[in-house]
């Protein structure tokens, strides 16, 4: 029993060590020539631009439901005018970074794992090695940068669309005064809320690219292995995002 627990602990420690080496090596290769600008742009397009639709859709409805819930809660205290600040603060501090990151994990993260995993199974990664091209530099580093830049931009978009979604329901549907909606946002949102959200989104972007690329890169050589790698990548990224969000929030508050 003790031996089994020990083996399990060792296995996880080894896995974490390997993940850390993977991350450090990928960033190490990032700063060495040749620099593949086109690869970065392609990844930014894939992670960022192609996730726009799902992020806008989720953001719109999140803002709308926040306004709906917030309106009925605030009305009890006669504070409907604070609806804008309630929606904006929830979006900027918490829901924007977390929900956008979860959406990107589901859409781009899973695709990254599957793409890299298929390349591993079909020996395309070995082919890169045989051509004296480091796969971490060619394949992984651009995806890391894509995540680091793409996710914060998507979060910014999520926040804006969410706030407008809240406006649509709060002002146009429920009759909150438009002026007080925007004024309450202006007076309640501080810089530290915004940079806290940016910090979260950058770290979430890194978590998504790191976990999803790692799981694809070290996938088992079978279709079943690839399936589990994709599932593990999405589940692990989502869990790490939520756990890291808690700790980061407790530091930022």
């Amino acid at each position: 029993m003790v031996a089994a627990i020990g083996r399990l602990v060792l296995k996880h420690v080894r896995e974490m060590g390997r993940m850390l080496i993977f991350l450090v090596s990928s960033f190490g290769w990032l700063v060495r020539p040749p620099f593949r600008f086109i690869q970065f742009v392609k990844q930014l397009h894939f992670i960022g631009y192609k996730s726009t639709f799902v992020v806008v859709l989720t953001a719109g409805f999140t803002g709308m439901v926040l306004a709906l819930q917030g309106y009925y809660s605030l009305r009890k205290f006669g504070s409907e005018g604070l609806l804008g600040s309630a929606v904006a603060l929830s979006m900027i501090r918490e829901l924007g970074p977390v929900l956008a990151a979860l959406m990107v994990t589901a859409r781009a993260g899973s695709a990254m794992t599957a793409e890299i995993g298929i390349m591993r199974i079909t020996e395309q990664i070995d082919a890169l090695d045989t051509m004296a091209i480091n796969p971490l530099q060619y394949l992984i580093a651009p995806k890391m940068v894509g995540g680091l830049i793409g996710v914060p931009l998507l979060v910014a978009l999520f926040d804006v669309v969410g706030i407008y979604g809240g406006y649509l329901v709060g002002v146009d549907l429920l009759g909150v005064n438009a002026g007080s909606y925007w004024t309450s946002i202006e007076s309640a949102v501080e810089w530290k809320d915004i940079y806290g959200g940016i910090l979260k989104s950058i770290s979430f972007g890194l978590i998504i690219s790191w976990v999803c690329c790692y799981k694809g890169f070290y996938t088992r050589m079978s279709a079943e292995g690839l399936g589990s790698a994709t599932t593990e990548a999405v589940v692990l990224s989502s869990v790490v995002i939520l756990v890291w969000d808690y700790f980061l929030t407790s530091i930022l508050l």
């Binding site: 020996e123 395309q124 082919a127 090695d129 051509m131 004296a132």
Partner: protein
């Protein structure tokens, strides 16, 4: 010359190579045969540093590569090309881009020279005008040809072929074999091929080696190889009928 000395490798708990000693002659086509699961592809991948041996040494010329990593290993790999079993073409690139890839990335070639070399190579492997197609649109034989073009476009010193005809019909397999031998004679590279195509490989190869129980049991020119007295090897090579060499091979 590639030389393996006492190479041992265990994958998981399964010992695969149990002390391989093998010397690949320069400028010749050497074929490695053996039963499925004997570790032929693993052996091939040791030659280019995709696997590192648990014990033993792998020499490429005068460089011992078994413990090399990073740039020194890449410098050795620049002398190689490899055709993988499934061709390992990059799905996201067209055939043209696949063949151009090692020219741009490995040789740092740019401009119209790339297109000239790629088109020339595609024509040589019978894929002229197919450059715009993507790997998913190609048949198995065409994929192998494209893989061969990608492997040979950089004019390497050494080419490794991992079961280049597996999964192809006999006519296509024959065509690929002919292509490999023609290219090998034209460019004079050192070729190492893993194959199950018996007896064809005896007509194509300069040397044949058999991997048996994790070791090289016999390595000899075809005419000498078929005279081996080991009953298991005799059974293995003559299961499809006795091997009868003709022409130069028989005279040798």
């Amino acid at each position: 010359m590639i030389k393996l000395v006492g190479v041992k490798k265990t994958l998981g708990t399964q010992p695969v190579l149990r002390g391989v000693d093998l010397t690949i002659p320069t400028g010749k086509l050497t074929t490695i045969i053996g039963r499925s699961g004997e570790g032929k592809s693993v052996l091939l991948k040791h030659m280019i540093g995709l696997f590192q041996p648990d014990e033993g040494q792998v020499w490429v010329g005068d460089v011992e590569i078994s413990r090399l990593r990073g740039r020194p290993l890449n410098d050795v790999r620049k002398r190689f090309s490899m055709l993988f079993q499934g061709a390992a073409l990059f799905d996201s690139m067209s055939v043209f881009e696949n063949v151009a890839f090692p020219l741009k990335e490995k040789l740092r070639m740019t401009g119209p020279d790339v297109a000239t070399r790629v088109n020339e190579m595609l024509e040589q492997v019978g894929l002229a005008g197919m450059g715009h197609k993507f790997p998913a649109e190609l048949s198995g034989g065409m994929r192998k040809r494209a893989g061969l073009a990608r492997a040979l476009v950089v004019r390497p010193e050494i080419v490794l072929f991992d079961e280049p005809t597996t999964g192809l019909d006999p006519l296509m397999a024959k065509a690929i074999h002919e292509l490999i031998t023609t290219m090998q004679r034209t460019f004079g590279f050192t070729a190492v091929m893993v194959s199950h195509e018996i007896p064809e490989i005896f007509f194509l190869s300069d040397y044949v080696a058999i991997l048996k129980q994790g070791r090289i049991a016999v390595m000899a020119p075809p005419a000498e190889f078929i005279r081996t007295t080991d009953p298991e090897i005799q059974e293995f090579i003559s299961v499809g009928g006795p091997v009868v060499l003709s022409g130069a091979a028989a005279r040798s």
